[in-house]
């Protein structure tokens, strides 16, 4: 009898340890995934993977998706979705290239992608709040087509290459930190935007209201929060970041091309979900989203180094998305059965 009791209390202790671990896995699980992938990559390619060149290459490649995912994350926190970010990116990029070709000055070229992105985002927000469309999916699916069509309209459907150096700076240049140590400027842009958005979400009243809307929109409404205005701001912010992303990609490719960012919204959403945000809103952190973008980048990098065909990369990213979310489901089930 006495033995039985000890046994019981021991299983209980083990369970409570598991329960106590859950918040940490919740917070750091995706960072663990990044670490595992880094170590695996290093073992597979010890010569190349950890070279400064390869690492900065990874960051250069993920920068525009990381910025796109950041905007998508803020939308997903409100339990929304923005399918138009890939097209918004293209429109912002193309508008810059077209105006550059027309001879506009550098300051204008640097502002244009933000204005284009913000405008598209605000229209999304107005559409879904004022027209009362049943789900953001509808409004932004429409916008996906509208912005892509507009991109082709303003460019005649052909790429434009050659941009002034200052416009390319953020997307293409490196910042020299020391002898042989350079970091891509785009990484700095990513870091600054993540820090600003992260602080905004945590410390601004509007930032907290964004989480509240995702947790329970009715609670937000009866607490006197202007839900519609907050949502318009959120979609505007998402569009603005898509514009920034377009500027980064324009810089990196030294061009504007009409098919830029085609399907990129799905990579952005993937990064957000892998990063631990909930599709039902109210959950997730910017650090997780960055890790999510990094997971996709690392996966692509190691598969490239291993000469795995690009089609297989796509298959594997799909597998990662499903696995990560499944692990999350398991974790929640373990959490709820013990509470």
């Amino acid at each position: 009898m006495a033995e039985q009791i000890t046994e019981l209390s021991e299983t209980k202790r083990a369970e409570s340890l598991r329960v106590r671990l859950i918040p940490y896995i919740d917070r750091y699980g995706v960072l663990l995934l990044v670490l595992v992938m880094g170590i695996t990559s290093y073992i597979l390619e010890p010569e190349v993977f950890l070279t400064w060149r390869n690492v900065s290459n990874i960051f250069r490649q993920i920068a525009f998706n990381a910025v796109l995912a950041l905007g998508e994350f803020v939308v997903i926190v409100t339990a929304g979705i923005d399918l138009s970010v890939g097209s918004t990116l293209a429109l912002a990029m193309m508008a810059t290239a077209v105006l550059s070709k027309a001879g506009y000055s550098v300051p204008i070229l640097l502002i244009v992608p933000f204005i284009v992105g913000a405008t598209v985002g605000i229209i999304n927000g107005l559409g879904l709040t004022k027209l009362r469309l049943p789900h953001p999916f509808i409004m932004t699916l429409g916008m996906l087509n509208i912005a892509r069509g507009a991109t082709n309209l303003i460019s005649g459907g052909v790429p434009i290459s050659g941009l002034p150096d200052p416009v390319r700076w953020m997307g293409a240049s490196d910042i020299k930190l020391g002898e042989g140590i350079e970091i891509p400027a785009s990484l700095l842009v990513v870091a600054i935007s993540y820090i600003i958005v992260g602080l905004f979400l945590h410390y601004a009243r509007t930032g907290r209201h964004i989480y509240a809307i995702g947790g329970n929109p009715q609670a937000a409404r009866v607490s006197g929060i202007n839900v519609d205005r907050t949502l318009i701001l959120v979609y505007g912010l998402c569009g603005t970041l898509a514009g920034l992303s377009g500027l980064l990609l324009a810089g990196r490719t030294n061009s504007g091309f009409p098919n830029a960012g085609l399907g990129q919204e799905l990579d952005a959403i993937s990064a957000v979900i892998i990063g631990g945000a909930s599709f039902f809103g109210g959950r997730g952190s910017v650090l997780g989203v960055f890790a999510g973008a990094l997971v996709i980048g690392l996966l692509r990098n190691i598969l490239n180094l291993q000469n795995v065909p690009v089609f297989w990369q796509q298959v594997l990213i799909g597998v990662v998305i499903i696995s990560v979310v499944y692990l999350d489901v398991l974790r929640r089930r373990a959490g709820s059965s013990n509470s």
Partner: protein
């Protein structure tokens, strides 16, 4: 405060949803320190009337008067600014946020970073939430807990704490005990009695006549969206109130009503 002026008064309230009439010519008034029980069958219009008082719905016709002044609420914020708070039946809490964040949602304390940028003062919110919960004698492990981690009774307590955190004059509670264990019910009702001693007016909607008879000073019944009957608690009994809910008015009750008018 004048004790003969009602805290809140609704006169001739009508509410239509499309072709459906939810309320027709409904009157209600609440004095300081009074607990008014509102009863009625499902669909009698209780919740609709409360949502009008709380600023969530505008009335189709009729007037709201707060402490003698006619008011027009275009959102719950307007009502809250006038000291009218509501505890919703579904509690309207954000489960993903901390207790203090729920209590101060929409009214967060801020401080200025570098004297310019307003940022949420998380420490101040947590400290004041803690103090407020202690005042109400509500126990939680920590105000830093997320609301989704709490029991039903604790959630109810948080919703009430939110309603009382800012000098409320009128607190409307829609079925606050429906989802609670018996032990927790008594706590909530005692809390209501406590509020009354502070001169706060409480409107309590409940299906449980035990609640009504334990805590209320007066009870009014709605039937098919109209005022049906009302009486001070001492001048009615359970059977009569049950009759009102079903739409039966006894001879004595109508006499009392005439008496009141």
């Amino acid at each position: 405060m004048n004790t003969t002026t009602p805290l809140i008064e609704a006169r001739g309230i009508n509410k239509h949803f499309g072709a459906v009439t939810a309320l027709e010519d409904v009157n209600l008034s609440l004095m300081p320190g009074e607990v008014l029980g509102v009863v009625g069958d499902n669909g009698a219009g209780k919740s609709t009337l409360m949502k009008i008082l709380a600023g969530l719905y505008p009335p189709s016709r009729g007037q709201l008067i707060v402490q003698g002044q006619p008011v027009h609420f275009s959102s719950p914020k307007d009502a809250r600014d006038r000291g009218i708070e509501m505890v919703y039946q579904d509690l309207a809490l954000a489960g993903n946020l901390r207790i203090d964040e729920n209590i101060f949602l929409g009214r967060e304390h801020t401080r200025r970073l570098l004297g310019v940028v307003p940022i949420v003062h998380h420490q101040a919110n947590m400290k004041q939430a803690q103090e407020h919960l202690e005042r109400l004698r509500i126990q939680v492990k920590s105000v830093g807990q997320r609301v989704e981690e709490l029991s039903g009774g604790q959630r109810q307590a948080v919703a009430i704490a939110r309603a009382t955190a800012f000098d409320a004059k009128v607190i409307i509670m829609d079925e606050p005990t429906a989802a609670l264990a018996i032990k927790e019910v008594r706590k909530v009702l005692d809390l209501i009695k406590d509020l009354r001693t502070h001169g706060i007016g409480v409107i309590l909607i409940s299906h449980r006549l035990d609640d009504i008879f334990y805590v209320c000073d007066r009870v009014m019944a709605l039937f098919h969206g109209r005022n049906f009957a009302e009486a001070p608690l001492g001048r009615t009994d359970r059977n009569e109130v049950i009759g009102w809910i079903m739409g039966n008015r006894s001879q004595t009750a109508s006499a009392q009503e005439l008496d009141l008018n």
